[in-house]
Each structure stands twice: as C-alpha cells, then as structure tokens.
Amino acid sequence: MTLETSTITVREALRDAMAEEMRKDPLVFIMGEEVAEYQGAYKVSQGLLEEFGAKRVIDTPITEHGFAGLGVGAAFAGLKPIVEFMTFNFGMQAIDQIINSAAKTLYMSGGQMGCPIVFRGPNGAAKRVGAQHSQCYASWYAHCPGLKVIAPYDARDAKGLLKAAIRDPNPVIFLENEMLYGQAFPALTEEDEVIPIGKARVVRSGKDVTITTFSLMVGVALQAAEQLATQGIDVEVIDLRTIRPLDEQTILDSVMKTNRLVTLEEGWGFAGIGSEISSLVMEKAFDYLDAPVKRVVGADVPMPYAESLVKLTIPQVEWVIDAIKQVCYR
C-alpha cells in the first residue's frame, strides 16, 4: 500500500462528507464564494461541481449577508443548504441572519419552522493573516440557543461530524481550520460513518490532569502531553469536537478521575469556552478539584502580523506545559 492510500487529509474528508450526503439526498446543495468553478478557495469543494452540476454547487457573489439569508430561507422551505464562508471572519457580515433568522425562528414559530442548514468554513487564525482574518468564533456562536456548534480536529471527525451536521434538522455552525486542511490522518474505513453531534472524545487518556480543547489546539495539547509524559505527568486530552451541545459528562468524568483541569483554546479568553467549562466544573465537580482550573487562551489583542508577536498571541505548547505544571503544583 502506498502512503497516499493509507492517509486522508482533512480537506479530502470534508469533501467526501459533502459528496456522500449530496449523493444520498437531492435536497442537499452547497453555495458560497468560489465553491464551484474555482473548486473552493481552499479546495475543499474540489470535484463537486463536476459531479453534481451548477444547480447544486453554486458560486455566489461576495455577498455573505445576502447568501446566508437566502440559504436560511431555502432551509425554511425544506432544502438542506451547506453554506460555505470563505472564512468565518467574513461570516460575521451574516451573523444577523444566522442568529436572528436561523437560530431563533423555530422557537418564534412555536416549532413550525425548522432550519436544516450548515454554515461551514475555516475559523480561527491561519498563518500571519492579520487581525481581521484571524478570529475564533466558537464562543460567539456557542452562546446562542438554537444553534449547534462543531469544531473537529482530525479527518475522521471532520467527515463524520460534517455528515451528521448535514443530516441534522437544525442550523449547525461547522468550524474548520485552515491549518488543518492539509494535515493527513489515517485513512477512514467505514464509508458511511456518521459521528454523533454532542460527544467529546478522549484522544489520550491519562490519570494526572485533564485538558479540554478543540480544533487545531488538540494537536498542541497532544504535543504538550507527550513532553509532559517524559516528566512523569500523565495528561488526559479531551477533544470536545462539539462545542454546543457540550458533552458535560465526558468532561466531568475525566475531572473526577484526574482532579485537575486545564482548558485550551485559540480564541480570546473573556467569556470563552474555557470560562464556560470552568464554570461547569465549579458547579458540578467542585469537590473533586485539587487545584483551581487554569485557562490557556489567545492573548487579549487583535491578531498582530509580526511573527514575533503572533507567537505571543496564539497558545504555544510551552504555555500548555506551564499551565499543566501549575495545576499539578510542579
């Protein structure tokens, strides 16, 4: 077997998820900037136009607020749009339609108006693209009832969770990461594996301390855990995978075992995912904690451009190691 057949990139996994769901359900279509003829700004939709045609793979003008709203309207009518934002930074133009229209209308209609739509695209910082193109929206969307929020790390989760998101009858925010698109992971076996939304995954089990994280930062946490293993600290790494609904039980079970918690996210800390998890553990597992919860978060600044400053902004492996040592009193 060659290397190519034994691995799959996150980019390919996402494309396969969409293609499989589009083959299965004619109501599923994808729209967004450059998704069709350009094959995706990050080539995630490669080959979809050829297979499914221009009716179902639709290049939009640069008009996020408009096409997000159009997608929500189509979803009210029973279609199942996948709306790609070239990045979620641009999706901020559309946030009114996502929250006020997609997330709230089921409630406002007494349960009549379901909105089966997926908003997907890269989230968070890529490499030195500056403040307006480097923001994590996990806590923004996770704040709102009526939305599901997913942020996968590896190829298997990217595919299985995107398939689940497309099949879900609710609006789903699917946060990808540009830095992960090209990363290769072991090839997937089950063609049709759908991973349930709302389930975290223990990606490395350990007994001394728990770290919760998601998306690109899972890799950072795993690196920190490997280094700490050589120093005699056994770290349990939880990939949240879904931010909302949060898998509280997996987090609580782990904290009750390790008695120590570090949260890690790329985004700003204020009212962030780590704050939410910290509060959860305070409310439901306070007596199990042997140390205060420690958050590792992005620096509280707009993303700088200079490489020297970027390193001081995005959580680094060393930050995680320091935080874990702090909660372990080492």
Binding site: F29, K55, T60, P61, T63, H65, G66, F67, A68, G69, L70, G71, V72, G73, A74, A75, F76, A77, G78, L79, D96, Q97, N100, S101, T105, L106, Y107, M108, S109, G110, G111, Q112, M113, G114, P145, G146, K148, R167, D168, P169, N170, I197
Partner: protein
C-alpha cells in the same frame, strides 16, 4: 370606473383588469376584516392584553388584499413586522393570530412569537420578521427553493419603504436577477420609515427604480385602490412566474396610525392624515365603487359587517380565554430532536 389620483401619492393610473362584483365584494370584506382586526388589536393593547411591539396595518389594507388575490396556493409569502394583515390575507385564522398577540398557547406560535413573529406552514406564510430588511434575503431563498424544486411557485416578499435602504436588499436583488429567481418584491411605501419621511430617508425619486441596476423591472401602483393593486399584481405575478425573474412593485400607501402603538406620530400633520382617511381610504373607495359601478345597495354591506363582527368577537374571546403557555413550554422548540 372611479379613478382618484392622490396629490400626495401621485400614482400611475393602470388599466384595471375586469373585476366581478363578487370579487370586489370579497376584497372589500377582506380589507374590512383587517381593519376591524387591527382596531380590536389597538383596543386590546390599550387594555394591556397585548404588550411589546404592535404595528397596525390600518390604511394599508388594499396592498396585501390586492396582491394576495392573484397568488396561487403553492406560492409563498414573507413579510416584516407589520404583519397582521398579511396573515389574515393568507387566510390564517384570526383566532390564532389574536391569541398570539395576547401571548396565549392557542396563538400561531404558542405565545412564543408575538405580534412580529407568526408563521403558518399550512398557508405558506413564512413570517413575521422583526429585523428590518432581513425578510428580503429569506424570501429570496424561498424563491430559490421554488426554482430548485421546479414547483411553479413564486415568493412574494413584502417590505416597507424604510427597508429599502438596507444593504441586504441589494444583495438579494443581485442574486435574484443573476439566478433568475421567481421573487416578487412588494415595497409598501407608506411614506415613513418609522418617523422619518421618505424625503428624508431615500435618495432618488422612485423606489420602484431601485432594481434598475440589476435589470429588475419595477412599477408604481396606487396602494389606496385595491383594484389598481390587483391589476398590477396580476401582471407582475404573471411576469415573475412566466419568466422566472424578479420584479418590484412600489405600492404607494398610507398608515393612519403611528409606526407602533407607542408612536404618537408627531412627525406629520393631522391634516395630512385626515386627507388620506377622508379622500383615499381603500375600504371606502371599494365600497363607493361597488355602489356606483355595480349598483350594490347600501343594505348589502350590513351582512358583511355582521359576519366580521362575529369573527372578531370570537377571536377576541379566544385570545382572552386560551391559556398562557405552561412553564413546560419554555424549553421546547429550541432544537428539533435529531
């Protein structure tokens, strides 16, 4: 037929299509139902039975009645927050609409939506939206779905003159024209964007021209004349359906009440309002036409009044006796179980 040209609105006179006495009587009845419904809504608001925002449609009845008269059952409708008239014109049950206004479980949204947020899948009414302009991309998406499914339907998207200054309107116009979507955009120009007159909020002479850059045709219509609206709608709907392309109707209308219940409308003169009420009222004009053109006797109107009075009594009774939602309703309808 009687054609009255408003000095303020200065509408284009259209050739009216033939209308039967029965049709015009129905339009009269439908407009009167909306008028009486809104009058009762205002009363119930004053009594404290309706709360929050409540935007009455009084004066604008001919717009929605004239448009809805020519739509087909498969067509979809969406509007903003001045929506009670649209729901009644979509044949939604006045009891359910009024009970939503009073926040009861028997309301269309089980008391969770209120005046601005009601929907009926059965009647293809897609709300009821409270963010000015947001319904326009949404409705364009409904039109997209008609085309995607090839079901022959069109979406009628209502907006006020204030909404036309939102950027997303033009994002929607662009896509509707580019992709040839069956979308009929209705601008209900009542002259005021809340309290800001059109002269102070809109550049350019005519709102119906706002689609020119996208190649979307537009027409101006006298919205105080239900027959003029119906005639224009007939042609517009035919155009949208047959060409699978968007069109704009700017319908010049007038609201007699304030923007919402809390608005004393100090930004316009009493004379202006009185002139519209006395000289251009769409219900009185329909009645005058029925009498002068069709020879309908005065006494023929009383059964209509009586029928509507009974509908309203029933609606108000239901809206006060239907229970408030139980606490168990609070956390339902947030997500669909998957």
């Amino acid at each position: 037929m009687v054609t009255t040209v408003s000095q303020k609105n200065n509408p284009v006179t259209l050739n009216r299509l033939p209308v039967t006495q029965a049709e015009l009587l129905k339009y009269y009845r439908d407009m009167l139902l909306i008028r009486r419904f809104e009058e009762r809504s205002g009363q119930l608001y004053g009594m404290g039975l309706i709360a929050g925002f409540c935007h009455l449609y009084i004066g604008q009845e001919a717009v929605v009645v004239g448009i809805q008269a020519v739509l087909q059952p498969q067509d979809t409708v969406i509007t903003a927050y001045r929506d009670h008239g649209h729901m009644l014109a979509c044949d939604m049950d006045p009891k359910g609409v009024m009970a939503e206004l009073t926040g009861r479980i028997g309301g269309y949204s089980k008391g969770k939506g209120g005046s601005m947020h009601m929907f009926s899948r059965e009647k293809n009414f897609f709300g009821g939206h409270g963010i000015v302009g947001a319904q326009i991309p949404l409705g364009t998406g409904l039109a997209f779905a008609h085309k995607y499914r090839g079901d022959g339907g069109i979406c009628t998207i209502y907006m006020g003159d204030g909404a036309v200054n939102q950027g997303q309107v033009y994002e929607a116009f662009n896509m509707a024209a580019l992709w040839k979507l069956p979308a009929l955009y209705i601008i209900e120009n009542n002259g005021y964007s809340m309290g800001t007159s059109i002269a102070r909020h809109a550049a350019g002479q005519h709102l119906y021209e706002r689609g020119i850059a996208y190649g979307i045709p537009g027409e101006e219509v006298d919205g105080m004349d239900v027959l003029a609206v119906k005639a224009a709608a007939e042609q517009a709907v035919k155009y949208v359906r047959e060409t699978n392309s968007p069109m704009i109707l700017e319908i010049k209308t007038y609201r007699y009440r304030g923007h919402s219940m809390s608005d004393p409308a100090k930004y316009r003169t009493k004379e202006e309002v009185d002139n519209m009420r006395q000289n251009f009222d769409p219900i009185e004009r329909a009645r005058a036409t029925l009498i002068s053109e069709f020879g309908v006797a005065e006494e023929a109107f009383s059964p209509i009044e009586k029928e509507i009075k009974e509908i309203m009594l029933e609606a108000v009774e239901f809206a006060q006796t239907s229970p408030e939602p139980e606490a168990s309703e609070l956390m339902t309808d947030i997500l669909i179980n998957s």
